[in-house]
């Protein structure tokens, strides 16, 4: 293959990605236009409650997951760093990061729902359990380790492990942790099956349950909701990218 042909091929692939993203955005906007002409319908209906539930559940799940993820990360990176338990932990977290959400959903429905009842807290707990392996996986792979020499210096000065964590490791990792939190938040916001099975009143599950309706206004509202969701997720992901920027593919 000639160099020029190949370069054109590469360029075409970039163009096609651009077209794909532009086309998706265009379709979402075009389909949600009818409902923006009837703002009353959008405001009066139950649509805003879905947005509220989506954000509430996502933030709650992230808040529940955060201490556990950070604990696992500390075990991996600080307390047991370099030992077998750390590599095993990283391996298991990698494996579990991609368990299908529908499996989590049916498991929670049959095993946890009889105990916890059917409410926001249960959904958040299940989403948190689901996101923990993913967030640990991101942290392990993308947050740089604190240079060993700095930590050793602190230990030489007589610091306890906690003091090393608090004064050296955490300030070093803060940006990475926030970015990992953002990425996890984006993943929770887009989660469909767990929420549909257990709760059913978030943006994704209302789309899943009511998509394909013949009512133009209703389908317009669904597309408007999805547009809103995409805007949030894109903002969150791009913010995470800027926080990781120093260490991520540069």
């Amino acid at each position: 293959m000639k160099d020029k042909t190949f370069k054109i091929l590469l360029f075409l692939s970039a163009i096609s990605i651009l077209l794909l993203s532009g086309g998706m955005l265009y379709s979402l906007i075009a389909e949600s236009l009818p409902v923006f002409g009837h703002l009353g319908y959008l405001v009066s209906g139950e649509w805003f409650s879905y947005i509220g539930y989506t954000l509430l559940i996502a933030v709650l799940a992230l808040a529940i997951a955060a201490p556990f993820s950070i604990s696992l990360l500390l075990i991996y990176a600080e307390y047991c760093s370099g030992k077998m338990i750390a590599s095993t932990l990283a391996f298991v977290m990698d494996l579990f990061a991609y368990i299908p959400s529908v499996v989590w959903g049916v498991w929670a429905y049959y095993s946890l729902r009889p105990v916890f009842g059917n409410d926001i807290l249960l959904v958040s707990i299940v989403l948190a359990a689901m996101i923990i392996p993913y967030s640990v996986y991101i942290c392990v792979n993308y947050i740089p380790l604190v240079p060993r020499s700095i930590k050793e210096g602190a230990y030489c000065l007589g610091a306890t492990r906690l003091e090393v964590l608090g004064t050296i490791c955490f300030p070093f990792m803060t940006k990475g942790l926030i970015a990992a939190g953002f990425l996890s938040l984006g993943k929770i916001l887009g989660e469909t099956m767990v929420v549909t099975i257990l709760f059913g009143k978030t943006i994704t599950s209302v789309i899943f349950n009511r998509f394909g309706t013949n009512n133009d206004l209703e389908s317009g509202a669904l597309f408007a909701l999805s547009l809103f969701l995409i805007l949030i997720i894109v903002a969150v992901n791009v913010a995470a990218r800027y926080m990781f920027k120093k260490h991520w593919h540069e």
Partner: protein, 288 residues
């Protein structure tokens, strides 16, 4: 002085205990999930499970009320999953690798940052919304649900993952490999195809496998694009069922609880096995 020291050490131990406690608690749901899947799922595992299509609700109710195992299996789901994921890989892998090569080549230009942001944004698009868009583009105009539409919606989800894993693989190569190739007299195309891609091959393939394992478990966009079917179909223009869609269908039938568990177990093991294979390839334990 010694009292102060012991106080500090005590707090340190307390925090360590808290961290271990939280870590153990975080592992509990994973253990619970595996335990429940195996305990409730093993019953339905028999040879028929892999070679028969899914049972109807009436059959299931009949056999269950007689105290027998539910007949039938998930063959239509397995073939459907295979064809849908294959379509998705065939679309997403070449495009993703080309795009990663473009971004690898284009390190310093001012578009590089823009493309990074674009790919990160694409990565965040929820699967269900990818499904909605494919519904608009492929299902509505042709008035038919199809395996092809399902494959395209999975491809949209897989594409950014493949781009990033390929880019990761390319970036782990020694920095001046390209220049060395060029110094040997290779053209740009030669360098890419004879040096860069073979050197990164294992990691690229591993990334594609990981993306495929994610695609295997995706349910929601397929239900609004591939619809489902209770027979084995290889025609990509007709609706199909995948394993994850069958799991959802079984879940909606109260008489099929046993099938739900076994299908979930199957899906879980498929994803785990795919990931383990991908990891072995990544670390060079399996040679491609």
């Amino acid at each position: 002085m010694s009292r102060l020291k012991s106080h500090r050490i005590r707090i340190d131990r307390l925090v360590f205990g808290g961290v271990v406690f939280c870590a153990v608690l975080a592992i509990c749901p994973l253990i619970g999930l595996i335990f429940d899947l195996f305990v409730n799922g093993y019953k339905q595992i028999h040879f028929d499970f892999f070679i028969q299509v899914n049972p109807t609700p009436e059959e299931a109710r009949l056999f269950q009320s007689a105290g027998l195992l539910i007949p039938g299996g998930i063959l239509n789901g397995i073939t459907g999953s295979f064809s849908v994921v294959a379509i998705a890989v065939l679309i997403a892998a070449p495009l993703g690798i080309l795009m990663a090569l473009f971004m690898y080549d284009d390190h310093s230009s001012r578009f590089s940052n823009f493309f990074h942001c674009l790919i990160v944004s694409l990565m965040g698009i929820p699967a269900i919304i990818a499904g909605m868009i494919v519904y608009l583009w492929m299902v509505e105009p042709f008035h038919s649900f199809s395996a092809l539409a399902g494959g395209v919606s999975l491809a949209i989800v897989m594409l950014p993952m493949i781009i990033y894993s390929t880019l990761d693989a390319l970036n782990t190569l020694p920095a001046n490999m390209k220049e060395e190739g060029a110094a040997l007299g290779g053209t740009y195309t030669n360098v890419i195809f004879l040096i860069i891609l073979p050197a990164a091959k294992d990691k690229i393939i591993s990334g594609i496998l990981v993306a495929a394992s994610r695609a295997v478990g995706i349910t929601s966009p397929l239900i609004i694009t591939a619809l489902g079917s209770s027979e084995v179909r290889w025609n990509v223009q007709e609706p199909v069922s995948t394993v994850s869609m069958l799991l959802w269908n079984f879940f909606n039938n109260p008489s099929m609880v046993d099938m739900v568990w076994t299908t979930a177990l199957f899906l879980f093991l498929t994803v785990i096995v795919l990931n383990i294979i991908a990891k072995s390839i990544y670390h060079g334990q399996i040679h491609t």
